[in-house]
């Protein structure tokens, strides 16, 4: 059975990645998961310098999902290169670095520092809804998305994925613009913007009022967007949004994703990546699928 997937020249041993921000840099999962068994660890957003993130509460449970307003708290790229890269390199998995930034310059500063770091791929997060200045504005407009993609691509050494926001009218035009601007692949979807109110306290549950909605509740939106985009772009797509099981992953592959990422599920069940991988293998065995590629985009 062939599970490996090649994206922009990087060979991943299987199509199961982690969703940025739900796996940190993997350290918290070593008790639960053999990191060497995952296709890639996509690490939490890394900025040019440490970010504090938003005040608490940052988490709200919603029906079949959750809201987060972590706001990209991270220790910055220098710390990442010093501490996390050597840690992750102990495992036989690929390292994908999610880039956080408020301006093109900030993104480029991170990408630039990563030139000499031993990481396999970058993922440009132009879609985090939790950062006011810039972060999300890039993701919701085709021209802006293309601009930031082009610039960051130019200053990156490693192949560049661009992570798209689902909070848009026309995902296809953004996907195409980003492809034209040189992206090596797309990651979709990030969280939907949502809000929850505590009716007893008469205030939003999140200190930041709004947050990103993730989890199985949003899967139908993710499947739809991957399906729509995959029909129109030639670059590979990493599909995510609500994947809890192997069958959820297969859905994304059939919709057109070349690989998938497990996000919120990691928080609910730290062994989720392993279970999703096993579920994919079980499915392939059941139907005699010998190469994972044969599942990609089978929906007409």
């Amino acid at each position: 059975m062939k599970l490996s997937v090649s994206i922009a020249g990087v060979e991943f041993k299987n199509p199961v990645f982690t969703g940025s921000g739900t796996f940190n840099s993997g350290r918290e999962f070593v008790e639960f998961v053999d990191l060497s068994k995952i296709g890639a660890v996509v690490v939490k957003g890394v900025a040019n310098k440490p970010w504090l993130g938003n005040p608490s509460p940052r988490i709200a449970e919603t029906y079949g999902g959750m809201l987060n307003s972590v706001g990209l708290q991270n220790l910055g790229v220098d710390h990442f290169i010093k501490e996390d890269v050597p840690f992750l390199r102990r495992y036989d998995t690929k390292i994908v670095v999610n880039l956080a930034g408020k301006t093109i310059e900030e993104y480029c500063e991170v990408a630039d520092k990563l030139r000499y770091a031993d990481v396999d791929m970058l993922e440009l997060n132009i879609s985090c809804p939790n950062v006011k200045e810039g972060g999300v504005a890039f993701g919701v407009n085709a021209e802006m998305a293309a601009l930031v993609t082009r610039e960051v691509k130019a200053c990156s050494k490693q192949p560049l994925l661009v992570k798209l926001s689902p909070n848009v009218t026309d995902i296809v035009s953004i996907a195409k613009a980003v492809e034209a601007a040189g992206a090596d692949g797309l990651t979709m979807i990030n969280t939907l913007i949502g809000m929850k109110i505590d009716v007893h306290k008469r205030k939003p549950v999140l200190a930041n009022k709004m947050g990103g909605l993730s989890g199985p509740a949003i899967k139908p939106v993710g499947i739809r967007m991957v399906y729509q985009a995959a029909k129109e772009v030639g670059i590979p797509i990493i599909g995510l949004g609500g994947i809890m099981t192997g069958e959820d992953a297969i859905e994304y592959l059939m919709a057109g994703a070349s690989a998938i990422a497990v996000g919120t599920a990691n928080l609910v069940n730290p062994s989720a990546t392993m279970e999703v991988l096993q579920g994919i293998i079980d499915y392939m065995n059941l139907y005699g699928v010998t190469d994972i590629k044969d599942l990609v985009g089978v929906i007409a």
Binding site: R27, S56, R58, L267
Partner: protein, 258 residues
């Protein structure tokens, strides 16, 4: 798949019964958790209803190494705990833990344990493990619970908001009334209580460990969702630490209550 990796544990509920109005005691056999547990740590309980995905963090109230029984005491607060309170003895539940740092224990001397409402449960295992003079001050709205258990290990003062049992007032009122300004302080309770206590220990020049609560996404450090503001020497003057792994127990001096 890989048995040497840690996983969610599915275990049978031995008992799940009400011990006060809206407060329940659940007992479970979980050898791995019982073996590792420290006082002040917590476990994640998972609901069977898949529309509610996130764990419910509940403090370890007591563990029994002989029988491998873990005791949890929890209040029905919202929908999740209401559903859990309906789980019957004999049915399965998913659990993971222990998580968090737990209280730091010192040998001998005086220990002042301060609890409020469902902050009381972790003090049971704590009182059991401490040696020296143990004083417990616990406050409740009205009905009390776990007081008898605590009396096994400690001198217990009780306060209630309505004066129905013990002192009519807050735990800080009790500390003042009985002039209990001595020893190491260990506390767990609602934020207003901890805030008041933080002032009180500062005035009293005591060392205190406060166990905090925050809404959690994972309970094991992955989501960076459960943070508390702590004093830092960075530019901002503060930083965020995770309640689930850096806590739930913090040095009173470092916590910034907002």
């Amino acid at each position: 798949m890989c048995n040497h990796y840690k996983e969610k544990i599915t275990t049978k509920i031995l008992s799940n019964k009400t011990i006060a109005d809206n407060v329940y005691e659940m007992q479970l056999t979980v050898p791995s958790i019982v073996k590792e547990a420290r006082a002040g740590q917590f476990v994640n309980l998972y609901l069977k209803d898949e529309s509610k995905l996130l764990p419910r963090p509940i403090s370890i109230c007591e563990v029994d190494i002989q029988t491998n029984i873990l005791t949890l005491v929890y209040a029905v607060f919202g929908e999740g705990t209401r559903i859990i309170s309906g789980y019957m003895a004999g049915s399965d539940i998913q659990i993971m833990g222990p998580f968090g740092n737990g209280y730091e224990l010192t040998e001998g001397g005086t220990h002042l344990l301060v609890g409020g409402g469902v902050g009381t449960p972790p003090l049971v295992e704590l009182a059991k493990r401490l040696s020296g003079e143990i004083i417990v001050v616990v406050g409740f709205k009205s009905e009390t619970y776990l007081v008898e258990e605590l009396k096994k290990y400690a001198t217990v003062y009780v306060a209630t908001d309505d004066g129905s049992t013990g002192f009519h007032g807050t735990v800080v009122d009790v500390l003042d009334a009985h002039n209990l300004r001595t020893g190491k302080v260990y506390a767990c309770g609602p934020k207003p209580m901890l805030k008041a206590l933080q002032n009180w220990v500062e005035e009293s020049q005591l060392e205190a460990q406060l166990s905090l609560e925050e809404r959690m996404g994972c309970g094991f450090g992955a989501c960076v969702g459960c943070v508390v503001k702590v004093i830092s020497d960075n530019e901002a003057g503060y930083d965020y630490k995770k309640v689930c792994v850096d806590g739930p127990v913090f040095n009173s001096k470092e916590v910034i209550f907002s």
